[in-house]
Amino acid sequence: MEASAATPTSAVMHPRAAVFTVEARSIERRIGLLFAVSGLALVLLMGLLGIVMRLTQATVIGLSPGWFYRILTLHGAGMLTGVLLVMMGALWYVLHQTVPLRAGRMLAAYALIMVGALAVLVATLIGGFGAGWTFLPPLPFYPAGQWSTWSESAFFVGLLLVDAGFFVYCLDVLEQTTNRYGGLVRTLGWQFLRGREQTAPPPQAIAATVVAIDGLLSSAVATAILAGLLGRTYDRSVGIDALVAKNLVYFFGHSMANLTIYLAAGAVYVLIPRYAGRPYETTKVFVAGWAGSLVFIATAYSHHLYMDFVQPTWADVISEAASYGALIPVAVITIYSMTMLVWGSRFRWTLASLLLYVGLAGWAIGGVGAVIDSLIPINFRFHNTDWVVAHFHTYLILCVVVWCFAFLAHLLERNADRTTSRAGRAWTVSLILVGGYGLTGTWFLAGVLGVPRRYAVQPPGTSGYSLAGSIFALLLALGFLLLCLQLIPLARGAWERRHYALVERTDSWTGGHYTARVSRDGAGEPAELEALPAAGLPYASPPQLALGAALCVVGLAAFFPQVVDASEASIRFHHLDHAGHFFFGVALGLLLGSLPAVSRRLGRRPTLGLATVIAAPTVMMLLMVPRFYEPLERHPFEHALFHLAMAAFGLATGLAATRLGRVTGLLVAFLAVGMCVMFAAAMT
């Protein structure tokens, strides 16, 4: 951990922490606060909707099923967006201290996510969309009279925007971490693991890089399926393969939900040491564990498809192993190591540190419930029962949401240089624990009973569990209310301390002394880090350029008349051929953009590059519906032009990818082509 500008001794943090804690810059505080406050506002609102649903199941409130499902959909999508926002802010806050992340990119991500959240709000509350946040295709197109096409479109556009915001975030994190630490292998600490280097990047940088890679993967998958479904809203002739679509939806949904906690872990590696007074440093076990997490996060999703027996059994068995495997780095590295830091440290118990500690237990207990459910024979009797609701609410409420508050409390405590009263903390955390575990406990019991999840009307004789759950949920809400009430004076204190300093002055007329409030000018902060330019080109050497040229030749096959004719056999093959044209364009773009002469003419243009790699493949997929291309295919010239347009979108993507550096550019180009292939597989 770097300590270029050690913070002065703090009243809230451990005295020893001054040695390794870096003073936060104002941009870090502002971004952190913006994301924390916006995200938590969304979380609290969605939490209230959750209570309304539980009270409906308890028959205390008479909400209609139509409204229940639109609220259910909003609750899931909104809660995920809320915690994602806070955790993105938290990781940015700790990572920016050593990696020059761009504030502009972060604000662009924020704007995209907020507009997306608004679209989801409109689609559900006004448009009546209620297919669940996992929107399992083709349910969005079977509304049973509850919603119309525009609300389907608004929902998909909303999720696409949230997804695009997360993509921008992950891209910036990956680009800057790999630039800062010298390539992907070094950034992940693998050179250190192999003993070729003596030092490794700090834990938060490794965690952030893993999250960024898996986040980009899941964003690409989300874009593919959402673009396809959006196309279906304006061309009803598009068919959907339910199994492929389900795989894509759960890959994206599982990964995104999972990544919120891994984002949080990166922040926790920095925050807990500040209260324990012990630095947390990268070890070989840590590097190996996160390498495992990189794989497990991306391969565990298939446990959502255990009861789809047509899913290949090998995929389910791999998923079962990955789901258990994911437990090991979490249990052995993150949770265990954090408790090692805490043990015998004369830990500083503040509001933030107490919430951080409590969150570790929530992750462990919820994780055990999840791992039990991830065993196939057990899932056979628990699939889609309230057990599932129980385990994910345990680690989402009692770990992720609690950590969201912990992050905000940390920001405020640090700036106010004080914490809340001991009694206040005790009451708050007791209410959260009793309410939270009571609420999830009723779901665990209902799961053992076989009560199905997502029922607007509970099976006969089971509403008592919902009533008990509602009472615990109200206690939980009371706990969070108390927590908010404690944060307000901290915020006031932080504002005062941050903006004004109390100084002793002498009156020049009377000679008397007085205390004055003077505005702070932000002096004494660590210097702002300069954003690093994109490092390297996708093809840097003659052999690599030759490989790029070979890929172009392979891509040309998509234009061969025989291949074009063969692709008319089915819509799937036809779309695959379009993906082939796109692939050719991407390969050509990467090759041309990597030529030094072309690269110089293109200039750096990282923002244009970023916008293009997001927009070009998305627009290409949105155009890939029969309504657009069938009329053109009646004329050979127009047909050829359409195929060239597909390649042109690819060319733009490939050229833009070269503006993002070697690691990020290659990954983005691969994902763009992958998106088009996944689109072809899911849409029939």
């Binding site: 027996f309 805490v342 024979p377 009973l449 076989g450």
Partner: protein
Amino acid sequence: MLRYGDPQIAIGIVFAVLALLIAAAFIVIGVQAGSDVSFERVHRVGYWLRKRWLALLLVLGVLVFGISLFDLPYASGSGSGRTVVKVTGGQFFWSLVPAQVPAGTKVRFDVTSVDVNHGFGLYDPHGHLIGSVQAMPGYHNELDLTLAQAGVYRIRCLELCGLNHSTMESTFTVTRP
């Protein structure tokens, strides 16, 4: 009326015990957090213990994973000798053909959907959930079960399928042989 299923109770108890052990560990660590132990000692003892902790999780993982592979619910073989029950889900109904079989019959449920994804959840006459399989449009999922107990089995939808998801129910009768 739903009742707690036997395997589910055992699993629930195992979970409750593990959750309590974790909670106890966190209470002990939380209490010890206030003491002053040198970080070197914490490192030495902690890393020694961590190796054992990793080994325990690995052994447990191999055991649990291995055992689970012997009890996969997926149908295999041609299904000859089994009575095929064609199950079709749709918004918001179940169709089962035939709708009854004698007790002890080896049944293969051939499950599909005519519109969206549904979940075929089968509850025995006592209200225990004895298993589930998804009903997907365009696909047939096959579930093999031997229903030894006579009585009326209830089917509930276990996948969100729209407005009347929670009332999408049907019955399947197992008669005395």
